[in-house]
């Protein structure tokens, strides 16, 4: 009985692992805007969870803001979010809940590697939210941060 349970459990884990992988390959294409310029950029740093790449904020003609990650890589983890934080930069061990840092959630991290786009909510004050963070909500862990500077 026990052995059967373990077999079923193992099978479930394998299937779920394959499932998450497959679903990510169905990448979603962002809507194409006609015109936009890069307004801010910064490079990722992160040592505990090796994070690298570039974060750039683009502004479309209609004022819409898009965050784009390029050459991006971090370690995969549970429940990772892309957030903008109201800080000039974020340390590797930053805990935004403990420090009560204001955040703007841009959604779940689409992939731990590769180029990807995130919509920034209209009216977000880029003068205040100056750092992009890859944030593990479950463990309040900052995987990596990119301080943004004017381009």
């Amino acid at each position: 009985m026990m052995r059967k349970m373990i077999q079923i459990l193992a099978l479930t884990v394998v299937l779920l692992a394959l499932g998450t992988r497959a679903s990510v390959y169905a990448t979603n294409r962002a809507d194409h805007e006609n015109s936009g310029v890069a307004v801010e950029t910064g490079e990722f740093h992160g040592k505990v969870h090796k994070t690298s790449g570039r974060a750039t904020i683009y502004q479309a003609k209609d004022g819409k803001l898009v965050l784009r990650l390029t050459h991006f890589a971090t370690s995969n983890g549970p429940n990772l979010r892309v957030v903008l934080v109201a800080a000039a930069d974020a340390d590797d061990d930053a805990n935004f809940l403990k420090t009560n840092t204001e955040r703007v959630d841009l959604g779940a991290l689409k992939g731990n590697q590769g180029d990807q786009n995130y919509e920034v909510p209209a009216g977000t004050d880029l003068g205040k939210f100056k750092t992009v963070s890859i944030f593990c909500e479950r463990f309040n862990a900052n995987f990596g941060a990119a301080p943004l500077q004017k381009l």
Partner: protein
Amino acid sequence: MKFGVPSRLKGRKWILATIGVPILAVAWWVFRPEKLWTNATVNEPSPFLESTDPQPLYTGLLVGAAHKASGRASIYGAADGKQYLRLTDFTTLNGPDVHVLLGRSDDQSLRQDVATGRLDSVELGPLKGNAGDQTYNLPASVDFDRYNTVLIYCERFHVVFGAAKLERF
């Protein structure tokens, strides 16, 4: 009894199974250990691929060398293939015959205080101002793998005011 297990163990196994399996499942959900060896790779196109505005290709922050220099240097590419350098938030010391060059980060003559004059570089023109945003046209087809550094360079005294190592966008 089929497995020949003593009856006092049979009950315990059931308890183990009913408690242990959910705990394992929850622990898996919390830690998602399989993510340690699986990667999720995405490859979304730029949302502004069809943009008619010039797009940034390379950028870097200026670091002062012989003099103080700060700001950002970025290479932009226009839709018609033209490329140009733009300095933003830029400030350095005013000086005689200061030029903007593209040089190589591995150039040995940059290691010295006074560059010997045999600088392998691409000339972009005299510095327009020692402070403020400014734009310089680039010659066609610059090899940015080779010329990967923007230099603010005093030609008269062969002194590098500041340098910005370019990184890809």
